[in-house]
Amino acid sequence: MPRTQIYNAVTERLEILDPTGIVDEDLMPDLDPDRIREIYRDMVRMRAMDEKALKLQRQGRMGTWPPIKGQEAIQAGVAHAMEDGDWLLPAFREHGIMLLRGVPGHLIYAYWVGDERGSSFPEGVRVFPVAVPVGSQWQHGTGVGLSLKLRGEKAVAVTLGGDGSTSEGDFHEAMNCAGVFQSNSVFVIQNNQWAISIPLHQQTAAETLAQKAHAYGIPGIQVDGNDVFAVYSVTREALDRARNGGGPTLIEAVTYRLGDHTTADDASRYREDEEVAEWEGRDPIPRLRHFLEARGLWDEEQEQTQQAAAHAWVDEQVAALESMPPQDPSDIFSHMYADLPPHLAEQMAEVLEEVGS
């Protein structure tokens, strides 16, 4: 008997907006000019939030901060494709999309300052807290997607994570289970090509991360992650499919981590300046600005106005952060369980006596 081909797979990549701001008109998603300007403003605001956090960190007013610089197009594109009832499950480099999904900026800062109230989002905000154990959030995304499906909600769980997290066993389990259960899930890999010091080719021998979807029997696609229109389009398509019972999708958005892993890292120890400079040239924010300007939708005056507005907004978030009253020392105990068990009541009294309150 001859060997036969039993499975053949093709992985697609989508690009719409090139680095000079020129788009492929045939592929342009249905976004009106106001919405595109809003997306741009959101990306500028994210960048301002990120830059401010780095400054605060240097001044000792911020804890360890993982910068999102360079990844704004993914976060804005995915957020704008989502709808009200959808859930967001972030990893830890998702401040931008968390913001757009309703988490107040000062709470995002609060989390990274080291205050648990930063993960206590306002009622109705469908966002999971930051997930630090790498890759663990993919599983929650399958669970939330399954929960939405079983309860008949026409909503989708959108989970984000990094390229490094695809090496974790949890990534495999989550994709596999999402495929089996056809959960209402969309998974977006922010492939910024570096997991601290490990480049993608040391993370996997696979040519793309999107192709891993084939092994789970779910659709997968690669997209230029610095192209907000392409990110929006593929996410929208995946969300529509999941929302209508078509099951999960894996999206690989290829981008680049322009900053260090966190403020505790020095990326110059393990990567070349030339590589960073090359990706600086593909920065998603100027790219969208070029597009807007070429269409006459944006000018220098609007840019100045928006930059000022973004910085003013950031200053408000910092003011709100720094005017948060201190937590009550008892708070470290009072949220462990629904009811405070006797041994914790004892320990709480010990701490309260120690701090004299």
Binding site: S119, G143, R151, C177, L344
Partner: protein, 341 residues
């Protein structure tokens, strides 16, 4: 006979009961709660069509369908990780880890997320989920099927740990666990899943989490134990009664939060205590119990608190497991040693 059983028998309660094993009582608790609350779902490996490898979910899929009795892929971390996602969004998952020896891949989800969610969101997201897992030795299985890993979870705040020792408590505690607003690890003593039957009310009821039971009253010495070892302790108490030693047995039932009051009241009365558990001795929960008794009752003690526990070895394969497990003789020896101190 535990007080739980005595309570049912002595109450003269007219409510109907039936004779059930622990495995059947566990199944009934799930069935009753699924009936009562449509957000309760069961998930795990082989829990559906097969009814669970110990038949603890027998018949549930026929009654509630495959959307509520979910056969999962073979992925422990996913079972718990998905449960976290489900519990955070309005469901009450009852997950099964087929054997406690296979819980390691799920520990990141249990201790990295399930136990922390309420605290780290300051109460905004809570996880009403139960993780059932058969534990302990005595059934001569292959490797990795006999472990007792409670200490790992007892040194990790945020997850309640419950261990029934009889059918009445199994149903009542599991019902309470499913209704609880926090994650509960429900350890099922597989060795006595079907070892005996006892009267179990057919109607739903709860046994409160965080309350120990005095499984046998006595005057001379207190045995403190949980799970399958409670049965062994009850046998030892009978044995010791023939030597005119009156043994009291405290069945902790919940290990976190621990009912110190019941335990300490008993030891205060007898002045002597021996802790019995299957998990390895060093850094086992017996050490914590001994420390607590020392802190609270040092001057009332007639002798040091002793521990009868598994040895600090890898759980032996079937042929040698009897060398490992605490047995009547070992417990009786510890009692005599304590009495003769």
């Amino acid at each position: 006979m535990s007080t739980a059983e005595i309570r049912v028998a002595d109450a003269g309660d007219p409510q109907p009961t039936e004779k059930l094993t622990i495995a059947q009582a566990v199944r009934d608790a799930m069935a009753d709660e699924m009936d009562r609350d449509s957000s309760v779902v069961v998930l795990g490996e082989d829990v559906g069509v097969d009814g669970g490898v110990f038949r603890a979910t027998d018949g549930l899929i026929e009654r509630f369908g495959s959307e509520r009795v979910i056969d999962t892929p073979l992925a422990e971390s996913a079972i718990i990780g998905m449960s976290v996602g489900m519990a955070a969004t309005g469901m009450r998952p009852v997950a099964e880890i087929q054997f406690m020896g296979f819980v390691y891949p799920a520990v990141n989800q249990l201790l990295g997320h399930a136990s922390r969610m309420r605290n780290r969101t300051r109460g905004r997201i809570t996880l009403p989920m139960v993780v059932r897992m058969p534990f302990g030795g005595g059934i001569h299985p292959p490797e990795h099927h006999s472990e007792s890993y409670e200490s790992m979870f007892l040194n990790s705040p945020g997850i309640k740990v419950v261990v029934p020792s009889n059918p009445y408590d199994a149903k009542g505690l599991l019902t309470a666990a499913i209704r609880d607003e926090d994650p509960v690890l429900f350890m099922e003593p597989k060795r006595i899943y079907r070892a005996f039957r006892a009267d179990v009310p057919t109607a739903p009821y709860t046994v409160p989490i965080g309350k120990a039971a005095v499984a046998r009253e006595g005057e001379d010495i207190t045995l403190i134990s949980w799970g399958a070892m409670v049965r062994v302790c009850l046998d030892v108490a009978e044995m010791m009664a023939r030597e005119d030693v009156s043994v009291e047995i405290v069945d902790l039932r919940t290990l976190n939060p621990l009912d110190r009051e019941t335990m300490l009241a008993s030891v205060e009365k007898t002045g002597r205590a021996v802790v019995v558990h299957e998990a390895p001795r060093t850094n086992g929960f017996g050490g914590e119990i001994a420390a607590l008794i020392g802190e609270h009752l040092l001057l009332q003690l007639e002798a040091p608190v002793l521990r009868v526990a598994g040895f600090d070895v890898i759980f032996p394969a079937a042929k040698n497991e009897n060398l490992y497990l605490p047995n009547r003789d070992r417990i009786a020896k510890a009692i005599r040693k304590n009495l003769n101190f």
